[in-house]
C-alpha cells in the first residue's frame, strides 16, 4: 500500500513537472510558428544560469529568438502567449515602452501561476526582431519581493534575461 502511495506521488509530481514544461514549450512553439523562426540554442546556458540565477529563483527555462519574421508587437505576442497558457495562468505585469514613431520598442509580459507555496512565472520579453521566453519558480521570499514592487522587478528581470541571452 505504501509503495502504491509513493508511486502515485511520483506520478503526480512528474505529471505536474511535465505540465509546466508543456506550457513553456507551448509558448515557445507558438512564437516559433507565428514568427517563422526556431529558438536559438545558447551553449552552456544551464551552467551559467545555475551560478548567475537571481535569489529565490529555481527551475529556470529559457528560450531566445533572433531575426523574427516581422516585428513583434506586444499585443500580438500577448494574444499568442495567452492562447498557449492554461486557465491557471494569470496576467500579472506588463511593461511596454514605445519608440518615437509610436511602435513598440520593448515589451515585457509576465504571467503567473500560483501553485501551493510556489509561484511559477512566464516572462516574455520582445524587442523588435528578438524575443526571450523564461519560465521560473519563485521562493516565498522572492514572491514577497515581486508583490511589493512588481514593476521594478519586471524591469530587473527582463534586463537580467536579456543579459544572459546576450552572453
Amino acid at each position: 500500500m505504501k509503495s502504491l502511495r509513493v508511486c502515485l506521488l511520483i506520478l503526480s509530481v512528474t505529471a505536474l513537472a511535465s505540465a509546466g514544461d508543456n506550457e513553456f514549450r507551448s509558448v515557445v512553439n507558438a512564437l516559433e510558428g507565428h514568427y517563422g523562426v526556431h529558438h536559438t540554442h545558447v551553449p552552456l546556458l544551464g551552467f551559467a544560469m545555475w551560478f548567475a540565477r537571481p535569489e529565490g529563483v529555481s527551475g529556470m527555462k529559457l528560450a531566445t529568438f533572433e531575426n523574427l519574421n516581422g516585428t513583434a508587437e506586444a499585443d500580438d505576442v500577448s494574444r499568442l502567449v495567452e492562447k498557449s497558457l492554461g486557465h491557471d495562468w494569470f496576467p500579472f505585469v506588463r511593461v511596454r515602452s514605445r519608440n518615437a514613431d509610436g511602435g513598440d520598442d520593448e515589451a515585457t509580459l509576465i504571467y503567473a501561476s500560483p501553485a501551493g507555496g510556489k509561484l511559477r512565472m512566464m516572462i516574455v520579453n520582445v524587442e523588435s526582431s528578438e524575443a526571450t521566453v523564461v519560465e521560473v519558480k519563485l521562493s516565498e521570499h522572492a514572491i514577497k519581493e515581486w508583490f511589493k514592487e512588481p514593476a521594478e522587478k519586471a524591469d530587473d528581470q527582463s534586463s537580467h534575461h536579456r543579459h544572459h541571452a546576450d552572453d
Binding site: 511596454r96 514605445r98 500560483p114 514577497k144
Partner: protein
C-alpha cells in the same frame, strides 16, 4: 415618400433608446476595471506599466503577507476580501503629452451614480493632481479609484472590493499601489466621513 415617413416614424420611436444606451454605457464604464480612455492614454506614453492582481491570484497572494509583520498582516486581511487591484502607470516623453481634457474625461467616468464624493488635491508647485473616487454599495465602500496626474506621469489605480479609506495606507507600497502622502489620505478620510453623514441624512429624509 411613404418609405421616408416610415423611416422618420421609426427613428422618432427609437429616440427614447438613446438615454437608455447612454445610461448603460456609464454603468458599464464603472464596472470595467480599466476604462477605454486609459488605453488611449497608453498609446501616447513612452512607457506603460500594467499590474493586474485579481481572482484566485489575489487571494493566493494574501497568504504571502506575513502575519508576524503588523503592516503586512493588515494588508493581508484587507487583500483577502478584495476582488481586484489594477494599476496602470504611464510615463510620457515630455510635459503636455496628454491634455487636461483627457484626464477630465477619465475622471468624469467616476462621477456617475454609484460613485461618491471626489477628493481632489491640487499642487500648483509641481503640477501634481491626485483624485480619489469612492464607490459605495449599500452604504459600504465597494471600491476606490485613484488618479494621480503629474506633468510627465499618470497613474490610475482601481481597487475593487470592500475597503475603508483608512486602509488605503495599509495597501500603499504593495502590489504596485502607490503610497499616498498623509495630506491626501487625510483629505480622503474627511470626505469619506462627510459623505457617509450626507447619505445617512438623505436616508432619514427619505424615510420621513
Amino acid at each position: 415618400m411613404i418609405m421616408i415617413k416610415i423611416a422618420m416614424k421609426f427613428a422618432t420611436r427609437m429616440l427614447w433608446l438613446i438615454p437608455l444606451f447612454a445610461t448603460a454605457a456609464i454603468v458599464h464604464a464603472q464596472d470595467v476595471p480599466i476604462p477605454p480612455d486609459i488605453q488611449k492614454l497608453s498609446a501616447k506614453a513612452k512607457e506603460t506599466v500594467e499590474v493586474t492582481m485579481d481572482g484566485p491570484m489575489l487571494h493566493w497572494a494574501s497568504k504571502f503577507l506575513s502575519a508576524d509583520d503588523p503592516d503586512e498582516a493588515k494588508a493581508a486581511k484587507l487583500v483577502a476580501n478584495l476582488k481586484g487591484i489594477y494599476v496602470r502607470s504611464f510615463e510620457f516623453e515630455k510635459e503636455g503629452a496628454y491634455s487636461a481634457a483627457e484626464v477630465e474625461q477619465l475622471r468624469s467616468q467616476f462621477r456617475g451614480p454609484g460613485w461618491s464624493k471626489v477628493v481632489g488635491v491640487r499642487s500648483d508647485e509641481d503640477g501634481d493632481n491626485v483624485d480619489i473616487f469612492f464607490k459605495l454599495e449599500n452604504d459600504k465602500m465597494a471600491g476606490i479609484v485613484i488618479i494621480c496626474a503629474e506633468p510627465k506621469e499618470l497613474t490610475y489605480v482601481n481597487i475593487v472590493g470592500p475597503l475603508e479609506v483608512e486602509q488605503l495606507a495599509d495597501l500603499g507600497g504593495e502590489f504596485g499601489v502607490p503610497k499616498l502622502d498623509r495630506k491626501t489620505l487625510k483629505h480622503a478620510q474627511k470626505a469619506d466621513k462627510a459623505d457617509k453623514e450626507d447619505q445617512k441624512e438623505e436616508r432619514k429624509e427619505d424615510q420621513k
